[in-house]
Symmetry: C2
Subunit: 310 residues, 2 copies
Amino acid sequence: MYALAIHGGAGTIARAELTPALEADYRAGLQAALAAGRRLLAEGAPALAAVEAAVICLEDNPLFNAGRGAVFTHDGHHELDAALMDGASGRVGAVAGAREIQNPIRAARLVMEHTEHVLLGYPGADELARLHGLPTQPADYFFTQRRFDQLQQAIAAGRMQLDHAGSAPVVDANWKKGTVGAVARDQHGNLAAATSTGGMTNKRFSRIGDTPLPGAGTWADAEVAISCTGNGEDFMRAVAAYDVSCLMRYKGLSLAEACRVVVHDKLAPVGGEGGLIAVSAAGELALPFNSGGMYRAWCDAAGEERVAIY
Amino acid sequence: MYALAIHGGAGTIARAELTPALEADYRAGLQAALAAGRRLLAEGAPALAAVEAAVICLEDNPLFNAGRGAVFTHDGHHELDAALMDGASGRVGAVAGAREIQNPIRAARLVMEHTEHVLLGYPGADELARLHGLPTQPADYFFTQRRFDQLQQAIAAGRMQLDHAGSAPVVDANWKKGTVGAVARDQHGNLAAATSTGGMTNKRFSRIGDTPLPGAGTWADAEVAISCTGNGEDFMRAVAAYDVSCLMRYKGLSLAEACRVVVHDKLAPVGGEGGLIAVSAAGELALPFNSGGMYRAWCDAAGEERVAIY
């Protein structure tokens, strides 16, 4: 028995903008990533390998805001955040602000397995990846016309101007958010979580979000694995992923109830739009979100597969 | 009624190396920082102002590994991490890997108050600080002979060589650790926490530790405020600071019991050497550590002041 869930980001996801052709592309992308992870789990591979494979597949797909499809920063480059955590050992690795690594989730695994550290920032994460022979890419690999247009729109609208005191955050999920992630329970009962993102379009000042922070956007232990997507700052202030674990472990809540409390009772009231995917040691899945939609797919313990957006 | 606790790092603190003159300097430094925070609390200032003032005082003192006295990275510069959190509002700001900011804790407050973000990395944190007129300093401001000698020793011993797979961490608290922090409960019953560090001597690859991560090294909510010091990676994997809060809130543990569970039951068995300081809304203090010593000082709700090392 094994279980796997993946997400490709949560947000408003305006139905008018999601043409049937684009929706079919998103669904195919999710399907392919789910299949990549599922294949490994079916063979008896560790949960860690499955979540990494699924996330690599999403990072390589320019539709999703991670790896190749990462959004542009204000300065016109890309800053990639990723984290990966192994529930059985409690080991975790992460990178923040990487600019050249083709698959940031592979760099996160490198940090976990080949250093005594948890989180490497810019420029060290790229340097370590190069030293270990991970593929890097020039800036044009990460260029997509759609993301570049989003940057121009964001700049024109003056969004993400961090240096203006008191400016209210602009809530527009389609340009602001986007993350990919996976959680798995393998045949041996072990759990793992992985998350990767390009962050916010037009972000400045080397902003680091919740994705690479253990406990905020990514978490795995012996009981539960979680990957989050949404308004990163709200997830950081809520320590959202670890909170799910604490509600289960210390308060005795079920997986579904713990996820509901975090996503709907805690995050939603403070504007923490988004969602998360979670899997328990028993193989139960939860994929709650408080936004208009969340790109997601899962394969439950009974072997049933689903892809959904709204 | 108010309460305040500060720390200047935890570790082995070899008694042979701590001459009476040096010990007197450490005690005087802790005393001065405690006084800076206490003065504000006595006047009715918010906990946030008190913890910031205490940490600025420690950052300006070359004895402590934060701000001016920050340890050297492998490349011979300094990478400064800091975070500050306001329990009443849940707001938090942090910087990671800053190289020029004289007082990183002031930059953390800037992030909290003048951006919609939580954490800024390198080089953006320095850029934002300059834009807002925070004092920056050239590299020689952060030069201290003692730290430079520590770097040469660390390089000679081949410590902190992240790129060698499987190398066991070298446990030697005096060169590896060092952090400063403060927690306060003000006369209005609000809590705040602040933490600042130069990280590990000879660190490479833009390593980011627990200090600037909300929930790992720093946390404050309506019930408890916490600042940690020790083997950062273990504190990150344990989400140590937020775990204290969860054990109190979800499991009903007392402040002392929650701190004991985290420091002695969870961190110590996995090599997570160090300690933390915590204050509750009722004004109770806890300053547990599992290392040889922790530079610390406190002023309890009854107005009693203490400075201690072992």
